[in-house]
Subunit: 219 residues, 2 copies
Amino acid sequence: MSQPSPTIQPAAPRRERILDAAEELFAEHGFDGVTLRQIARRAEVDVALANYHFGKKLDLFQAVFERRAESLNDARRQALRASQATAGDEGPTVEQIIEAFLRPLELAQETGDEGWRHYLALIAYINNSPYWGPRMMSHLFDDLVQEFIAALSKALPGAKPEDIYWCYHNLSGALTLTLAQTKRIDNLSGGLCRSEDLQAAYDHMIPFVAAGFREVCQR
Amino acid sequence: MSQPSPTIQPAAPRRERILDAAEELFAEHGFDGVTLRQIARRAEVDVALANYHFGKKLDLFQAVFERRAESLNDARRQALRASQATAGDEGPTVEQIIEAFLRPLELAQETGDEGWRHYLALIAYINNSPYWGPRMMSHLFDDLVQEFIAALSKALPGAKPEDIYWCYHNLSGALTLTLAQTKRIDNLSGGLCRSEDLQAAYDHMIPFVAAGFREVCQR
DNA sequence: GCGAATGTTCAACAATTGTTGAAAAAGAAT
DNA sequence: ATTCTTTTTCAACAATTGTTGAACATTCGC
């Protein structure tokens, strides 16, 4: 025993370091592009420890995916509820709903926690994957998405459900590419736009998507 | 390189069978999620043959990516030129430009050639990947994209270049998720929307995106 | 203190990976 | 037929993969 004298940050416990390392590497290279040894090396941990804490590689992958899901869903659900509370009987506008859908993501990344950035890039990877998408997205995110779709339906009276879903698909795609952080827009624009500038990304995405919804669903 | 006098369909030469198999498997599982032996098995070919024709695994990956790129670029460029030819001095409208950007993709898949479907899914995988995107997209697609962006700038006089690029980013994201064919929209909508129904996808995407461009860039 | 539960390391496993060189088969040219 | 070139197979390589069981270390309840 000794006085720990925690003058500075105590090293994060190994279990979390593994999750952090896996999060970052899976987000950049995908499930098959990362080895357990790479994860262990980045986490400064023995290879066998990942197995001890999480079991198989696939279980670790799912653990990473699930770690921040609830917290993220809560933030978005809360944002939606808040916009509904301040709105009248007819409910929030399309812009307000989309804002509630997107801004919590911006806030998550603006905490300065790099982990959130990696996590959202991982969601982009999974959502865009024909293999992982159908296997992993529904379970964690469907309920919340349906809440937003219901709110959008109310804000767009008379819209065909089919149209709403297609518009949501477009929104989801624009969001996914944003979260992936591929820097492609940086190159195309010659540095005029920066993938890391999420405020700019969302400031442009929200009116863009809202106008799209109105054009397709309100007519 | 080869004389074009095939009277009837001969069994596809082994070299092309390898490309077809690699195309399909890379599109679904990514570069690291596929082994050369899986590709060889699907192509009904020996493992070493892939190496003989294409060299390293990475070279095969790039060969798959490049095989249909030129043909696709030509189709899109031609569609853009056609819309410019019929338009007056002020050039085609935003809808017409986006239509020229998207419809060739729909046509490619409607040939019934499954290869095109896999190829476009592969583009979605690469475009959404933080690792492959910056390494492979620019080289083949930047010139064409800049042509479309120039046309959009002309159709949206006074728009800030920054805004145009962000709008293109949103368009690219919606398109990417469509090409990925993840069936997520099928699940969410309870079968109301189908990922394979590209006509419905593009019929909804075009007005959606056009309205977004106008909202963000014309004001 | 002791002992049990938990955390961590070590060494090794069988399986699979991309890649290769040499042999064999097929095709083209003379 | 004979050579030469191209295509295809075969067998094997060193390296790396995920996973495991047993040993070692640490922490915690008492």
